[in-house]
């Protein structure tokens, strides 16, 4: 069982409260996922020519400053690093591709949780409220955020298997459900040049959508293609640098509730997570229809 939440702000005046609202939403999904939680927050974009990466090493005493120093010296660029729990936020004055290549070559013990210009990703074990507190979610301002709470039923509680999955710059996907054709799809995606970090079915979906978006599909087109190519049960919520999307499979047995007003769009597995949003009493609330793609864009 899992819990999903997502909040997309249409009214810029609410941006300072993004983290606070998403924390409340995430806590609302504690019973659906008390083992671990993950969040992707779109906030504080870096200046042009810079990139932002969220990195992970289980050891809280990991030498992040040294990593940033070595990276800066090797690529001859400015770097900045700050530690949050067993994650580190790295900002470098170069493209994310160059940083990722350097990390792959020089730091095998570091996992890249997410990258791009504005997305930050944190995943940790424990109750959603504790994870949110540890990474200071409440104080994060921004445009949109997606969260996931996990109750492990079949595999170990690790950050590796936790959502959100982040297959491309500023893109993340959370999934409630299970896919039945992920092995074939993984093989096919590998042939198209995609590489995988885990054996997780949700990662296959994430990389599938990243592949479609990379081909030039719009968010809506990518998700509609997924309705044809992905077999199984799913409620997906996806974030891109300026977009937010929800889609469910044709049977729609994995729960989802959408709410929208002039100021925001919110998605959650259950209404409990939406109950405290501003003006929720007057928002439009509905259950997303099966095999129907819902997208929103900032522009």
């Amino acid at each position: 069982m899992c819990g999903i939440v997502g909040l997309f702000l249409k009214n810029p005046s609410l941006q300072s409260k993004l983290g606070a609202h998403v924390e409340t939403m995430l806590v609302g999904m504690s019973e659906r996922g008390p083992d671990s939680a993950g969040i992707a927050v779109y906030h504080s974009p870096v200046a042009a020519g810079r990139s932002k990466l969220t990195l992970f090493n289980a050891d809280e005493a990991y030498p992040w400053r040294k990593l940033a120093g070595d990276l800066g010296a090797a690529l001859n660029v400015e770097t900045d690093v700050s530690q949050k729990g067993n994650h580190a936020l790295l900002i470098a004055e170069t493209s994310e591709d160059k940083v990722i290549d350097w990390l792959h070559a020089n730091r095998h013990d570091v996992r890249i949780m997410g990258y791009g210009k504005l997305m930050e990703v944190y995943k940790d074990m424990g109750l959603p409220g504790a994870v949110a507190k540890k990474y200071g979610l409440k104080k994060m301002a921004g445009t949109h955020a997606i969260g996931h709470t996990r109750m492990a039923t079949e595999s170990a509680v690790t950050t590796e298997h936790s959502h959100p999955f982040t297959p491309a710059p500023d893109m993340c996907l959370v999934h409630n459900g299970s896919l039945s054709n992920h092995n074939n799809l993984r093989k096919w995606l590998k042939k198209q040049g995609q590489s995988f970090d885990t054996d997780n079915d949700s990662e296959v979906a994430a990389r599938y959508f990243a592949y479609r978006l990379g081909e030039g599909a719009t968010l809506k087109e990518a998700l509609e293609a997924g309705l044809t190519d992905l077999d199984g049960f799913f409620t997906f919520t996806m974030g891109t640098k300026d977009g937010f999307a929800v889609v469910r499979d044709g049977i729609a047995c994995k729960p989802a509730v959408l709410a929208e007003n002039d100021d925001w769009v919110a998605m959650a597995s259950e209404f409990r997570s939406l109950a405290y949003l501003p003006d929720i009493e007057k928002a439009k609330i509905w259950e997303p229809a099966p095999a129907t793609v819902y997208t929103w864009s900032l522009h």
């Binding site: 729609a252 047995c253 209404f271 409990r272 405290y276 259950e287 229809a289 099966p290």
Partner: protein
């Protein structure tokens, strides 16, 4: 009226209090506030009391209801009035999936839309939906009536037994063994009575009736090779 604030009283205590009311109770009108999407609210009630729920509510609201009248002034989650036996459950907003699942009697009124599988396996309950219903509604429905004033999603009435379905709007598609049937004066009268009971102002003459072709649930000798 008794008002209970769920921000102060735990749900379990609220349900237990309502469930334990004696037959001759004078406390017949209750209001629940600050419900914030709690699951299994006002379930298992057995006395003819009225419970008003202010705000949006979670899963299985009014489940197993007997005799009580429950009114939700908001939206509700999955499994509204699941296995209702008697009484009435009314939602002023929308309901999520599987509203009225396995309901044996009583009346459910959803003034807005209902999600997928509305009235799945219903066994005698009457469900009146002011708006539209999602896909697979009245799946394996056995008895009772499902009235849809709006449209119905795909595979309406799949594997239907003897329940009656009335739809005013469009039906995306009919499920296996579900067919359109003649709307006789007898059915119009029945529907009129039901709409009146539900307080929904629709014209019964504008509805179409759907039911079981009865080809699926009886063994047919032509199919013997399939076994």
């Amino acid at each position: 009226m008794n008002v209970i604030d769920l921000a102060k009283t735990p749900l379990r205590e609220v349900n237990s209090r309502l469930q334990k009311l004696p037959k001759d109770t004078n406390e017949r009108l209750w209001k629940l506030v600050n419900v914030h999407g709690e699951h299994a609210c006002a379930v298992g009630l057995t006395q003819p009391i009225e419970v008003q729920i202010e705000g949006h509510i979670g899963y299985y609201c009014g489940g197993m209801n007997q005799q009580a009248t429950i009114v939700v002034n908001g939206q509700c989650g999955v499994g509204l009035a699941e296995n209702i036996m008697s009484g009435e459950v009314r939602v002023k907003g929308n309901a999520s999936a599987a509203a009225g699942a396995t309901g044996q009697g009583g009346l459910i009124v959803i003034e807005g839309d209902a999600g997928t599988r509305c009235g799945i396996s219903m066994k005698g309950v009457d469900i009146v939906v002011g708006g539209s219903v999602g896909a697979m509604s009245a799946f394996m429905a056995q008895a009772g009536s499902l009235v849809v004033c709006g449209d119905a999603g795909a595979n309406l009435g799949d594997s239907l037994y003897e329940a009656r379905i009335y739809v005013q709007g469009k039906v995306e598609s009919l499920g296996a063994d579900c067919v359109e049937k003649k709307m006789t004066p007898h059915h119009v009268a029945k529907l009129e009575k039901l709409l009146k009971r539900a307080g929904i102002g629709a014209n019964p003459n504008k509805f179409k009736r759907y039911g079981s072709a009865r080809k699926l649930y009886n063994f047919h000798v032509d199919n013997v090779d399939a076994y």
